[in-house]
């Protein structure tokens, strides 16, 4: 996959959550959710802390198996990647973190370094390639995690609160990166509790409150005419419990 190749958007299978719920020791953490994500949309999963956003992401990405319902790709499973709130980087150099991801993806050895360096440049990390990933700043680490995801050319990219621990400049870099992915043809599914971020990025909004899916629709509709009382309260910035 060349760095600049656009993905065939129409070929990305839809993701269908059918009555997906999750219980832990009998406690329902996520009440059954029906959700269908299609095309090359940027969906932001919003909601207060503890609403079940991260759980929903992990179920959709396949890190967790639902205790009820099922997660289904309509067609073949797509190439996916996930970026976490706190980036998990290997105790190696920035470059080695990327060549490792390429090795796992089956890229021939002789091409790995070239591709990894391209990705480092794209995310403004070229000067740091030899630096141990663990000593990079928070923003640099998150960009490295994005670069690592970039290399596998994901058709679907999950991001779990990728900016919550970052300063404004670093947040901007991450948001730009998300848009780069989107322009390339990647479907974005991202959690956030930041309304302004949602206004900047979202095509669609999913609102979760208290382990339930409350609202799902285009961002414009969500902000202009929220259907539920919770959504209206959320937009007004009131806490929802």
């Amino acid at each position: 996959m060349n760095e600049w190749t656009r993905l065939d958007v129409t070929a990305i299978p839809a993701l269908s959550l059918e009555g997906v719920g999750f219980r832990h020791r009998g406690q329902p953490l996520l009440h059954p959710v029906d959700l269908r994500l299609t095309g090359c949309r940027r969906t932001l999963v919003m909601g207060p802390n503890g609403a079940g956003k991260s759980l929903l992401m992990r179920l959709a990405h396949g890190l967790l198996a639902p205790t009820e319902g099922r997660v289904r790709w309509e067609g073949r499973p797509p190439r996916q990647a996930m970026v976490f709130q706190r980036p998990v980087l290997l105790r190696r150099s920035a470059l080695a973190n990327l060549t490792y991801a390429l090795a796992v993806a089956g890229t021939p050895r002789r091409r790995r370094k070239l591709l990894a360096r391209e990705a480092l440049s794209r995310f403004g990390l070229a000067a740091l390639e030899a630096r141990p990933a663990r000593v990079l700043s928070g923003g640099e680490q998150q960009r490295l995690a994005l670069a690592r995801a970039w290399l596998v050319a994901p058709e679907v990219l999950f991001l779990d609160e990728p900016t919550s621990a970052l300063d404004p400049a670093a947040i901007k870099a991450v948001e730009d990166a998300v848009n780069d992915f989107h322009r390339r043809g990647t479907r974005i599914v991202m959690t956030s509790h930041d309304l302004n971020q949602a206004r900047r990025l979202a095509d669609d909004i999913v609102l979760m409150v208290d382990g339930r899916l409350v609202e799902h629709g285009p961002a414009e509709t969500f902000f202009a005419a929220p259907a539920s009382a919770e959504a209206r309260a959320f937009i007004r910035g009131e806490l929802i419990w």
């Binding site: 992990r58 996930m82 796992v104 141990p132 990933a133 596998v152």
Partner: protein, 234 residues
């Protein structure tokens, strides 16, 4: 206790005098223990990592057994290897009894459970941090073994040192399978036992100090390398 001061003088004289017999004994001690740790590591590192990553019936029993074997008395390991390698035993044909090879085998048996058990613990802990990321990237379990071993390398270096400490300090096993033959299988610990039984306590203690210094040296070198690398990698 005049003997104590004597022992330090003896140790110093041994080291400064570069006594060829002593150098032979020290060299053999290091060779045997390093080889044993190396062989044990080649088996125990992947084994420990595999136990950390896989869930299978009897896993708990295996972990308890490994932890228990960390306390295996060296003399028991020595006896088992003796019976194995003795001409009348199943591997007698190899003619390994009373050779450094037999001592390596005995020490491998002593060191392997330590490395495997501690590796299992460290890798399991690290995998707790890495699990979601590796799963997300689609890294197979088999492939996680080298990944996690490499990323846990600083902790594992300490584990290998613990193994080396056990190997170089034990006497019960190498005495039985090596025979403490002068110039062939005599190592630091068996030489200490011999001098003690001759009642030459200052020399025995002197040898003990040399052994301690040697182990300290190996540890210091490993610590230095480890700290430098750790500071670099963060």
């Amino acid at each position: 206790m005049p003997d104590d001061a004597n022992a330090f003088q003896t140790a110093l004289a041994l080291i400064l005098g570069l006594d060829p017999d002593l150098i032979g004994i020290v060299t053999l001690s290091l060779k045997v223990s390093f080889t044993a740790v190396l062989i044990a590591a080649l088996i125990a590192l992947p084994l420990g990592a595999a136990i950390a990553l896989w869930r299978f019936p009897g896993r708990g029993v295996l972990i308890v057994a490994l932890n228990a074997l960390m306390g295996l008395p060296p003399v028991v390991a020595g006896l088992a290897v003796y019976l194995l390698l003795s001409r009348a035993g199943p591997l007698g044909e190899l003619g390994l009894l009373f050779t450094p090879g037999a001592m390596v085998i005995a020490q491998v048996i002593l060191v392997l459970p330590i490395i495997a058990a501690l590796t299992r613990q460290q890798v399991e802990e690290l995998h707790g941090d890495y699990r979601e990321q590796l799963t997300s990237m689609g890294v197979s379990r088999a492939r996680r073994i080298p990944t996690l071993l490499w990323d846990a390398r600083f902790g594992l270096a300490t584990v290998l040192l613990a193994g080396f400490g056990r190997a170089s300090a034990e006497v019960g096993a190498v005495m039985i399978v090596g025979g403490n033959i002068d110039g062939v299988t005599r190592v630091m610990t068996t030489a200490i036992v011999l001098e003690t039984s001759k009642g030459d306590l200052p020399l025995a203690l002197g040898l003990g100090i040399v052994l301690l210094a040697l182990v300290a040296l190996v540890n210091a070198a490993a610590h230095l390398v480890g700290e430098t690398a750790r500071r670099r990698v963060g």
